[in-house]
């Protein structure tokens, strides 16, 4: 088990990160509280839910347009 580096791609279930150097998924080590090391680094960040992210992405989304 290992900790994902910053910016690493994480699996949809949150249990693995993509190790490009090894070309393989690596299991993420979870501590007793269930937080990852990357999560621990951001432990001071507010808890944001998927619904919050969905709202944020909806507000960020622009209409498709032709590009000159």
């Amino acid at each position: 088990m290992s900790q994902p580096p910053a910016g690493a791609q994480i699996s949809e279930d949150g249990n693995y990160w993509w190790d490009a150097s090894a070309n393989a998924w690596q299991l993420i080590q979870h501590d007793a509280g269930g937080a990852t090391a990357a999560g621990a680094q951001a432990s001071n960040a507010p808890q944001i839910t998927s619904d919050h992210v969905a709202d944020m992405m909806a507000s960020a989304e622009q209409d498709a347009a032709e590009i000159a």
């Binding site: 910016g7 994480i10 032709e66």
Partner: protein, 167 residues
Amino acid sequence: MGEVADIVNSGVTVIKLMANHASVQTVQGGYANGFPAGFDGQGLTGGQFKAVGKRWKQDSAWYDFTTVDMDFTVKMHWMWGASIHGAGHYIDHITVTLDVDYLPLDQTVDVTANFPTHGSRLGTEDNVIAAMPFEISVQMNYFLGQLVGWRRSLDCLVQGDGNWQMG
């Protein structure tokens, strides 16, 4: 060109792109097309390129800790108006790209385009307009103190007459 029975895609059926704050990687690239069945691309003439993009851009105030800044654009590109022996409006070089102007360290974007093996035939027998529907899925992963995901599917269509849909 005789009667056109079907419009087929003899190119790629999947394109995969990945991005983080540092780079955009093409995991699986290439081009799709929309030709008459049995046509190998020889004798295709004319055509012009078009690009259509959908952008996600978020600028938050410095004190807003619940909003994540980002700026990226998913684009579809294709050549339209190509003809075979002077007839028809066919499509070639259909592809998808991802441009990233800004992503934070703890955010990744995955883009996957899925193309069918058959498209649609519009227009008339004498003036066929090829159309190719496909789907682009955009997936985000965040580490905002915890893993949070988001996914959006875009129903896309490119046509030989230059018309399009992306949404």
